[in-house]
Symmetry: C2
């Protein structure tokens, strides 16, 4: 019997004891994190599915996993033998998790949920689905999975570090002043922070509590005259404590009592309704609650001049590492012995040679041939394959630097020639990438309005890709951050703002054959040419510096403007990166960035 089968059977016994007919094991943690610390990766432990997104529901007789297009192939693979049915979110005829429960549970039955892992939105959705069925949600304190998971990893003891103001660009007291101004405008007496990157940004602190994301597991509460961070105090040295003063540091476990104290007060408490869990809301019960989005997200998303300068500088170092890597790849692959894992390790090692490097910003996707079509493929010992001098190799990787976060995808030709189809598809993806990179748009435009620009050339040929075009990127923080995004499905509709940084990454995936993705980060800047006094316009400036493989480009498919964009981009890459390279690498860069 597979691990997952045994664990689910054991979970069912706990469910029966607790009088539950179904139990919800979401992917997230108490802070609604996308990437969760090892000690909270309950869904992965239970199901065996290792993707970053996917919720499990176990009933007395069934078990299901809901995940999105990035993970359909991986999930099908990892769930084999588990008895867990895969529900492909967004596909025709596939019920949502809530709809499934609504049609499966009977009158009087209960769905158990851990209030710390339940967002208000999911609570509303589940309740709405269960109510017509006569079933109900039951908040069960203490996670059932934890009772089974005897070798659960301990929580991180990584030290909390201060990000100095010369890197962060703004002191904590200045950030607190802006936050308190926003609170005053909404008449809020307290602001409860629950998402980890918001807390790291506000207090200029970083740690290593979550893989790839340099955040601190914490809650925080800001009032007019106090700012309190609740975290594992063993992680805080006296020097850090002194540096943070007058911000107070309290134990993570003290959060509940402090929330209850706030709830007994008279003032309005502001907590972001999207980032908060139901456990926090229950503690706050009784107070006047404001649940609009926290102003911190937008503040954090508008990078300040120091952050922007840091991001640019980090991208020069990152671009040099990428150039060294690609030059090495061209030379090494024909000799044999290079595998996906080897290539990923080589790139990480080259990045590590750069200054201020702190590690990867997410798990590297190094995908050769058919693996490229698995959108979030990460090579393992079991799947690793050698790279041969033929076909297409896709690498999507990023670095965390003290002065920035990078995320880049390049798709390169390993053999002498690509097929006509591959060239056509690569060029359509490139046209989409350029359409986003070149576009100007009126202030007030939401990122989701730009998504189709990246798809139009593929759509013309009846082709598409099953993921968004871009996500926000943090400053030495999470590689995925909101609210900014270029995506059709995220419905926030938040306008893009000057200083936002996003990825621009259209792709195309031919299942069983190859994958193409082309990703640069872009910075939102004012478009001075189009702006007028009453109507400001914006555009993107591409900050990622690395050649795009012109051997895969079907030049005839490009318009004159698109050709100019690519040549100009390459000239800029050459100029920015030339300085720190060996003669051999420089020769490669010059060839790779030669005009079309």
């Amino acid at each position: 019997m597979s691990n997952a089968r045994k664990r689910i059977a054991a979970l069912r016994e706990l469910m029966i004891k607790a009088g539950l007919d179904a139990y919800h094991v979401p992917s997230t943690d108490p802070h609604q994190s996308e990437y969760v610390p090892a000690c909270w990766q309950r869904r992965q432990w239970l199901s065996g599915f290792s993707g970053s997104a996917g919720d499990v529901v176990v009933t007395r007789s069934t078990a299901g996993l809901w995940t999105d297009g990035r993970y359909f192939l991986q999930a099908a693979d990892e769930l084999r033998g588990s008895g867990i049915k895969l529900f492909k979110q967004g596909m025709r005829g596939v019920p949502t998790l809530a709809a499934y429960l609504g049609s499966t549970l009977q009158r009087g039955q209960t769905l158990g949920v851990d209030p710390q892992l339940l967002s208000r939105a999911v609570e509303t959705e589940l309740s709405a689905a269960l109510e017509p069925a006569g079933a109900r949600l039951k908040l069960v304190e203490g996670n059932l999975v934890d009772r089974l998971w005897t070798d659960r990893p301990p929580p991180s003891k990584a030290p909390v570090e201060i990000l100095p103001a010369e890197l962060a660009g703004e002191r904590v007291r200045a950030k607190l002043r802006r936050l308190r101004d926003a609170m005053a405008e909404r008449r809020a007496a307290a602001h409860v922070l629950t998402t980890l990157d918001a807390i790291a940004w506000l207090f200029n602190i970083r740690s290593a509590d979550v893989e790839y994301n340099p955040v601190v597991i914490a809650y925080a509460i800001v009032t007019e005259d106090a700012a309190r961070v609740f975290c594992d105090l063993e992680k805080v040295t006296p020097a850090v404590r002194r540096a943070l003063a007058p911000v107070e540091l309290l134990p993570y476990e003290a959060t509940g009592a402090e929330l209850a104290r706030l709830a007994r007060g008279k003032g309005v408490v502001w907590v972001d309704g999207r980032g908060v869990n139901v456990w926090v809301l229950k503690k706050l019960k009784g107070c006047a609650l404001l649940t609009d989005p926290s102003p911190i997200h937008a503040m954090k998303a508008r990078k300040n001049p120091t952050e922007i300068a840091g991001m640019r500088a980090a991208h020069v170092r990152d671009g040099r590492a990428m150039v060294r890597f690609l030059a090495w790849l061209d030379e090494a692959v024909p000799g044999g012995g290079v595998t996906e894992l080897g290539a990923a390790a080589r790139l990480a090692a080259l990045r590590a040679e750069g200054e201020r490097y702190r590690g990867e910003s997410f798990e590297t996707i190094a995908a050769y041939g058919a693996h490229g079509a698995i959108i979030h493929y990460g090579p393992t010992e079991a799947t690793d394959v050698p790279l041969r001098p033929e076909g297409i190799f896709l690498i999507d990787a990023g670095g965390q630097y003290l002065d920035g976060t990078t995320d880049i995808t390049r798709t390169v030709l390993l053999g002498p020639q690509a097929t006509a189809e591959q060239r056509d598809r690569f060029t359509r993806v490139l046209k989409g990438h350029i359409a986003v990179a070149r576009c100007r748009f009126p202030a007030g435009t939401a990122g989701r309005q730009l998504d189709t620009l990246a798809r139009a050339s593929l759509w013309e040929a009846g082709l598409n890709y099953n993921h968004g075009t871009g996500h926000g990127v943090g400053f030495y923080l999470n590689v995925h951050e909101g609210p900014q995004a270029i995506s059709p499905t995220r419905c926030t509709g938040v306008p893009l703002e000057e200083g936002n940084i996003l990825s621009n990454e259209p792709g195309y995936y031919q299942e069983g054959d190859y994958g193409i993705r082309l990703e640069n980060l872009v910075l939102v800047v004012e478009d001075r040419e189009a702006s007028t006094e009453e109507s400001p316009w914006l555009r993107f400036e591409t900050i990622t510096l690395c050649p795009i493989d012109t051997r895969l480009v079907e030049v005839e498919l490009l318009t004159a403007e698109e050709r100019t964009w690519l040549d100009t981009y390459h000239a800029g890459v050459r100029e920015a990166l030339a300085g720190g390279l060996s003669a051999k690498e420089l020769g490669w860069l010059q060839r790779a960035t030669a005009p079309l």
Copy 2:
């Protein structure tokens, strides 16, 4: 003192008596209608503002109107001297109505609202804004404005008519069967219908209770074994009552009691959370409520083959009226004596010569020169101007036919030559129109994803238009219907489906100078070329038939594909319309549709 000032002063007296610090006078009616019957046009009576959208709030010392970009100029004009401040929705720094109240009302103060005119969404938004201020919402039964409006028009007594099945394409019992299937799937025992076009569609009834919209003022309730329509029974002849049986007809005033009866039952009651007012929800209090969107909207939006054939046939008649009109315009304008109102009347008269014509589908926009830049300009005796043989004329008009609804905009040159700027702008609008008309997209795509295709060419030049690109259109029903739309701001994200009909109407407006808009209706059809078994693709088929003025086209700005589209469209128009025209009109049509 202006009428509005006097009326607001009188309203304040009633507010004081009722202990209210502010009162909300929205644009809508108990059915959340966009266009409301004359007897419910309270906001217009109070404020003098005659646009179709705009809410008023009166406090003890201030009064404000919130409206959208379509009406900024008109509202500024009509509010002059009223003492009502104009709040331009969506403009930088302009608070929403809710935010304004949140920052204006003090602790303990109350905002009065008519529960029949309050949607759940607005209630939530207002409550959320008032709570931090310590102010609150008070539901006041009986509208305060009605007590002042002594010469209020009586409700419509227009007869209820049956739309025969050979025109509707589906019998009421078949529609009810589909609805009951959808109810069973969601375990709903009853479905409460509150929006007028949904009721008209479900029961194949039409009337003239609202100008331009052939709906019946009614509520309806469908259960497993009964279907009840609540309307003014004086409007129903015995023949109609017999034709509708077994559907029961009950007085409009009986709705409340029937809702209360439902609330006492055990079954789940389904009422569309977006279309329902708070009065209905209060009556339903206590029952298990399902508030997902009514399945009727999507059913109604997917036109059946008979409806599609009817829409096509109506567009042939409508297109001939348009061709006659445009040919007449070319000849008549140089002779003098044609005004905006005269042109609008001429078009209506030409439409009325066609079979099955029932009237206009909205107030005609006939806008010459600078009037064209007022997006929803409707000429009045006071604003009417003569058309001279120079510059640009914009006409946006539509017809109601027993077998369809039309909505078309053409922008035509009245003089010998347009300016280079006008030709550039017209051509960019045309490029956007063609981009939507030609695009293919995977099933699952929401209309809002296509909006930017229509803007891209304008954006390139730093230009834009301040309205959506397309709205759904009903079948001999409201010219605006949901859920389908091509708009960046409507966040429903409902995918477009085969059989949906929408407008495709990009524009450009040069304030004080001219306006350009180009509108055809499009039908969503399967794209057989791109569809595969597991992944269906869709495209649009343009159903509006009328030449586009090539005198305004800068041919060099068009790509080869765009030129082919326009020539092919014109060839189709010529072929479809040639039959019913005079020799002179035919000559005009041939010239107007000659290849570029």
